[in-house]
Amino acid sequence: MPIRIWDIPREEYFVSGHRLCPGCGAGIIMRHLAKALGGKGIIAHATGCVEVSTTYYPETSWRIPWIHVAFENVAAVASGIEAAYKVLKRKGIVDPNKDVKIVAVAGDGGTFDIGFQALSGMLERGHDVLYLVYDNEAYMNTGIQRSGSTPFGAWTTTTPVGDVWIYGEWRPKTRKDLLFIAMAHNIPYYATVNPAYITDLYEKISKALTIKGPKLIHAFSPCPPGWRINDDDTIRVSRLAVQTGVWINLEYVNGVVRVTTPVPRRRPVEEYLKIQGRFRHLDKEAIEKIQAMVDEYVAKINKLVGKEVIGPVER
């Protein structure tokens, strides 16, 4: 039976007073991650927005043991913590039956780019760690520079608007796809979550925490200043991402892919693009190109699942 909104615990372990921007998607994700952990476990955090804005001296929003490490090595540090617990349990210092949840959190820069090597190593070695990436599709903490996750056509400060960056040879065509990266590493659990589908998000994080081995959760995380959206449009843009097929909520468990939010009739991708300032410069041709890219990716996922879970565009 699926989780209902009142099944989510009321206790808060990611508390108010943090300095995240109004409307930050990452705040919603972290709050529910902390709820799923139930105030237990250890969080290792890569450099990023959430790290700098939730732990600013003299306060912290985390009611959970927390460690910040350098930008590129959160997965490596989480691996070390997990290995240390194995030793502590073996020596009898920690009760061998105690289940200590270790979570690594990083943004898209710390995952897709600089932290990729450490992530791949952690997944390959099979550490019992949940790795959660909050993907706001650029380096928002340093001032909106493009990352390996920035979608085609988006404005960033290092992909300024102009012919060179929209149609030039250096423009990234498609972003890295974590689903296939996770599949290539043969990990027991991978899921995509979206703050507009909060019960789904909570359920997936809770489920991941019960599974042994390396787990990867990819979270959609709207950024009002970076995406040039209104503070109150976070959930709207998150829901539109799913409804247009730009983002697909899915789950990969032991080799089987399942779409958890089927979309029988998709909305045109233009609706998702037009409320974001970072896509404002796109002309009709570019929007059609993005629509074609989304269509192609949806077809790929449908083929993977084996049936049409994401339907055609309805205009």
């Binding site: 350098a70 600089i114 340093t142 520079q145 493009r146 290092t158 030039g168 250096w170």
Partner: protein, 387 residues
Amino acid sequence: MKSFHPRLLKPGRYFMQGNIATAEAALIAGCRFYAGYPITPSNEIAEWMSRRLPEVGGVFIQMEDEIGSIVAVLGASAAGVKAMTATSGPGFSLMMESVGLASMMEIPAVIVNVMRAGPSTGIPTLVGQGDIMQAKWGSHGDYEIIAYLPSSVQEVFDMTIKAFNMAEKYRVLTIVLSDQVIGHMIGKLVVPDYEEIEIIDRELPDVPPEKLVYPFDNSRLIPPMPIAGAGYRVNYDSLTHDERGYPSVDRDVSFRLVSRLVRKIRENEKAIAEWEEYYTDDADILLVAYGCTARSAKEVVKKLRRENIRIGLFRPKTAWPFPWWRMNELSKRVSKIVVAEINMGQMLHLVREYSARDVEIVHVPYAPGYMPPPSYIENIVRGVYGA
């Protein structure tokens, strides 16, 4: 007569940010490739380059990390394009392996390190001067680099052009040790007429590509650099290599190569090193400061001179090579030296090493992430002077 691209920054007077001046200077110096990775407080350089490089026919790429950035720069430079990257403390640490790599393969390149407070992630948005020693000693083995210490927007512009020139002239990695204050300072910039700007390009072999060339010819201190992109068949190797570029474990080969890598800078240090002196002629107390700290130090000298305190300022403009002979001469004339910098004692070691034995050396340690205000240095100087 060199030709300048019509869309470079025109000669004239500007009110410009230090980081943007750095980027514009690099373009004037002939830089046409930039590979970088976002890091505060150097981001403006990458952002400006991403916009400006395509306009002047260059290429900007954002890499997956700083290790990739510097190595992409070395690749581009080996292929024949002047290239640079910009970073700050943590990124500079990641680049360290390639500092040695560039030195070993003698590939000219420029790193702009906009220093921030450290260690580790430190304070990304605030200033530090803690990378002075790392710039020279960060990579393993024996090698020499050149490092500049700009102290104003104008200087960061001039020194970036000079950094490219020196890199090309000596086939060496050159580092501009800017800092957060200089990088984010908006100040006056005068771009001189292009004819007045000296641009040096690397010396190319005078034999055609199909002929045999020795890219690491030990008979010359700085051998001409064959360009892979121009058709030369070259073999660059980070292993210890002979004059052809092939790896070798021969003791003579190793000693000859490492000696030359070091000698090409050490024997030219008097031509490369630069410094500024302010009221040092009759000084009894010598203040040593550089970068943004020198701005506070200069103010202290001005104020104390009005009280007839015989104080002078020695400001090295190059950290490496350090103008040690001048330091030594000055130390013999003064009774006390005060070293002010935003770290817990780095240039202090150089001052100690090269000063006369009987001179008293006092350090002003300061690492809160801010520039020391003139009053802070002044209080310490007064304590030393006994006034």
